[in-house]
């Protein structure tokens, strides 16, 4: 049993490493830059924690922070899907188990390990809210637990509900905020069951891309990350920072947004590659070119978001980066060039 559990953990680790393998293509400088970006993210995260638990703040003032926490929750919830193996390979791993009980136990353990970041982020917040002497905080804690339980128990394969994600941003500052979330989650689940077995036909290539985009759990996580990055950017905007610091934060967020779009576009490319021969056999040459051009589609949200939220310089930088990343294959050379570019922006 011990050997099998160890093997399962090794496989989990290997899969995690493989998922981040594209990062190996990035040069050292680029990793350094990513590190800076991460620091840029961590600082607001700490602040988010302080603000969320700040007893000085009123209930309404706490709402944006609670919304951010919920987005993070959904992010992790959606993100765990990358760890899932295809069914056939899962059968293979289970066939190596010494007994059905051990197979079941190891599956549960792996699910828990998969969700560690999720619990790490949520449980302290939940405990704090519950232990807080404020009535409203306790009420929030109970609702948070309710949403968590519905996410973990109600949705197979830890699916996140698109509708519930939308609701996070549209629910007004009402006391019973968990109710619309749960209602949307149940509605989406019912819709999923209704549509089960009735696959949407591709129709047009764009509709096919849209269908793929909505179904992919990673895309959900990616969209959420983009929203989260933008929320953080706004948070930074509200701080009275020096213009130099503002420029740095702005360039870091531009990079993150561009990279997220790049990662999302890579997912689509991988999907296309896996079905390369199928599409070649099915499409005319013109349609095949069109299908490949859909690679650029993930850049569109970046353009829209950058133009809507960023200042002119940041928006242009984001769009340029997202487009270049989408087309350029030699990431190593590109990352060096980009670092020089970013340094120039920061130094100026």
């Amino acid at each position: 049993m011990g050997t099998y559990l160890l093997v399962r953990f090794e496989l989990f680790w290997q899969q995690a490493c493989n998922a981040f393998a594209p990062l190996n293509k990035f040069s050292f400088l680029f990793v350094m830059l990513a590190g800076h970006a991460l620091l840029g993210l961590l600082a607001p995260l700490v602040l988010l924690g302080f603000q969320l638990f700040n007893p000085e703040l009123g209930t309404v003032e706490r709402w944006p922070y609670l919304q951010m926490l919920l987005v993070l929750l959904f992010c992790w919830q959606g993100g765990v899907a990358w760890q899932q193996k295809p069914v056939a390979q899962q059968y293979f791993v289970e066939s190596l188990a010494p007994s059905a009980k051990v197979a079941g136990l190891s599956n549960t353990l792996m699910a828990v390990v998969n969700q560690l970041p999720f619990w790490f982020l949520t449980l302290p917040a939940w405990a704090y809210l519950l232990l807080s002497s404020k009535t409203m905080a306790c009420f929030d804690a109970i609702q948070l637990l309710l949403v968590l339980m519905a996410l973990c128990l109600g949705f197979k394969a830890r699916q996140t509900s698109w509708l519930a994600l939308g609701a996070v941003f549209v629910v007004p500052a009402v006391s019973l905020w968990s109710l619309p979330l749960l209602a949307f989650m149940l509605l989406e689940r019912a819709l999923q069951q209704q549509l089960d077995g009735q696959q949407l036909s591709a129709g047009s290539l764009f509709r096919y891309w849209l269908y793929w985009f909505i179904r992919q759990q990673q895309n959900k996580a990616m969209v959420l990350l983009i929203i989260f990055v933008l929320a953080l950017w706004h948070y930074w905007l509200e701080q009275q920072l020096k213009p130099e610091a503002m420029l740095f934060v702005s360039s870091v967020f531009s990079w993150i947004l561009a990279l997220l779009c790049y990662a999302q576009q890579k997912l689509w490319q991988q999907h296309l590659l896996a079905q390369h021969y199928f599409w070649l056999a099915l499409c005319t040459k013109k349609q095949w070119v069109l299908l490949k051009l859909l690679n650029v589609l993930p850049v569109l949200p970046a353009i829209v978001l950058a133009l809507s939220f960023f200042d002119a310089v940041s928006a242009v930088c984001t769009i340029a980066l997202a487009v270049v990343l989408s087309f350029w294959q030699q990431l190593k050379l590109l990352s060096v060039a980009s670092c020089c570019f970013i340094l120039l922006v920061v130094l100026n």
């Binding site: 050997t3 193996k85 069914v87 059968y91 293979f92 066939s95 190596l96 010494p98 059905a100 009980k101």
Partner: protein, 210 residues
């Protein structure tokens, strides 16, 4: 002896078989049936990979899922695919560790199936036939008492086919129970099959003469 009692299994509302009863002694058994009749599902249930909605399965008095049962059983099927992002050698080592099979034994079968030059290749780049050979190597090397094979001869080259048949014949001679699910006719192969079962739609089993 493999004993299946009142076994029912299905996916959602679609019931593949219900109240299936069967007793099989050691030997070579051929399970045929049209596409979708439930052959592969039955093998997966017998391997303990899928759980039946009702009924019981035991082999040599050991219940399916118990550690004693799982030690005796091995399965080779397209739906049980070795990890694609590992090398062939890596998968062999993984199976050796988990199932306690001697590495020499695994390499012996791999060599006989002409997989030796591919040991450092990733499973994902192997051809259909090579993946089938790897799957058979993993299933047969441990000399299990209950061998479950789903379409084992598909995509095999003639040499590998002959070798596979000889290993299955040897397994029968050492007292193992081999259950082969295939839509092909058993007469097409050089195998001394003891029993031919046919799984019909709705999960009814019939025994055909050879």
């Amino acid at each position: 002896m493999l004993t299946i009692n009142n076994l029912s299994f299905g996916y959602g509302k679609q019931q593949l078989f219900s109240n299936l009863k069967l007793q099989l002694d050691a030997g070579l058994h051929w399970l045929s049936g049209v596409n979708g009749s439930g052959k592969s599902s039955l093998l997966r249930v017998l391997a303990g990979l899928d759980k039946a909605s009702q009924g019981s399965i035991s082999f040599h008095q050991h219940q399916v899922g118990s550690s004693a049962y799982q030690t005796l059983v091995s399965i080779s099927a397209d739906a049980v695919a070795p990890l694609q992002d590992n090398t062939v050698l890596g998968v062999l080592q993984l199976v050796a560790r988990c199932r306690g099979t001697a590495m020499e034994q695994l390499l012996l079968h791999a060599k006989a199936f002409a997989l030796e030059p591919l040991l450092k290749q990733k499973v994902a780049v192997l051809s259909l036939g090579q993946q089938k050979k790897l799957s058979l190597t993993l299933a047969l090397a441990a000399n299990p008492q209950l061998v479950l094979l789903d379409e084992p001869f598909n995509a095999l080259d003639p040499d590998s086919l002959i070798y596979c048949c000889s290993v299955l014949q040897a397994a029968k001679e050492r007292g193992a129970l081999v259950l082969i699910a295939s839509h092909l006719s058993p007469q097409s192969f050089e195998l001394a099959v003891d029993q031919h079962l046919e799984l019909k739609a709705g999960g009814h089993l019939s025994f055909s003469s050879l």
